[in-house]
Symmetry: C2
Subunit: 220 residues, 2 copies
Amino acid sequence: MTARARKKREAIPQGVVGRLPIYFRYLTELAQMGVDKVSSAQLGEALDFTAAQIRSDLSYFGSFGQQGYGYNVAELLQQVRQILGMSRKYSLVLVGAGNVGKAIGSYGWFRAEGFVIDAIFDIDPHLIGNIHGGCAIRHVDELPQYLANRPADIGVIATPKEAAQNICDLLVAGGVKGIWNFSPAHLDVPDDVIVENIHLTDSLLRLSFRLNERSQRSGD
Amino acid sequence: MTARARKKREAIPQGVVGRLPIYFRYLTELAQMGVDKVSSAQLGEALDFTAAQIRSDLSYFGSFGQQGYGYNVAELLQQVRQILGMSRKYSLVLVGAGNVGKAIGSYGWFRAEGFVIDAIFDIDPHLIGNIHGGCAIRHVDELPQYLANRPADIGVIATPKEAAQNICDLLVAGGVKGIWNFSPAHLDVPDDVIVENIHLTDSLLRLSFRLNERSQRSGD
């Protein structure tokens, strides 16, 4: 990466980063449909952004667009993948083999895109030894030894809230730098560890807030 | 609601709205532990916000804090619940009884907080008639008739991507105003319908972006 490219990349605002996966998903669809070119107006209409917003976002990672011509879908997709860190493989360990863990473990997209779940852990003796998504479920007591032998990039926490911080601490002690947290717990981690949360309840409450806000307004 | 309170409420910025569920979760914990009072400094430390941020956020929904005294946990929680639209019940229908749908259907918190899944739909003949979370799984062909008889507030879409827009259209035609979308599809809805997405892949890609960004920097 050149110094200029690196500078550009580090300057990407959070808002743009949040939209990159949306671009990634849509460009993937276009590529699968065999579409070669796409204009900022088309992207904007499909994604409910303005064309100006699209051009501004895409300017952060190179100048692929040509006036009156549009973007090359394959090049743009390749660039988005690289910025998102998808040009390498990630080793994942999943802790918690309940319904949420099972849903994560059986989601084929992850493996196809290089996010490979290498091991699954649980505490339920009835689950230990079962195979899920090609992985044998191991007892969580084996987690430290496992990570000592096979470092992982990302630890997925799909445990009850009460267990989450303890599991997080084990993952961090084992050298994991990325935590994907599906539990409703707020996790404390050292500065060099990144936590990405999927808080289902927060999402549902944002929806109820907006439904309630709307019905209050329409009742004016 | 007074005119002033309504004005205040409508003025709540998106950033604050996004943090309300975090306050809700933490205040619930404090209430369960029997804690009566909490200072903005304590809230800030627990939630990784500054005390000034906390005070600014909470100022949007009333003046509960007293200098040197802190906030009354029960009152603040009650107010947050009301703003989040949690002082009423919501009727949910869930479409898709795969792993993700099962995880949602068995999450007891939703029902306890007034988000009640009244019906589950799928297309798999092996699932129809099974009971999950107290609901019989019905064929998705019955969805329009069901909604005609029993209007629902929120439709939860946990289907494969290919089916999601069609299901969304059925839900909207049946009068559903809130869509909680777990599929990776980008859904088109009329202006009076609210979509809240849980995009697992977007979340994982935000994590890989940040891991990649960090390793690039530390490699400088």
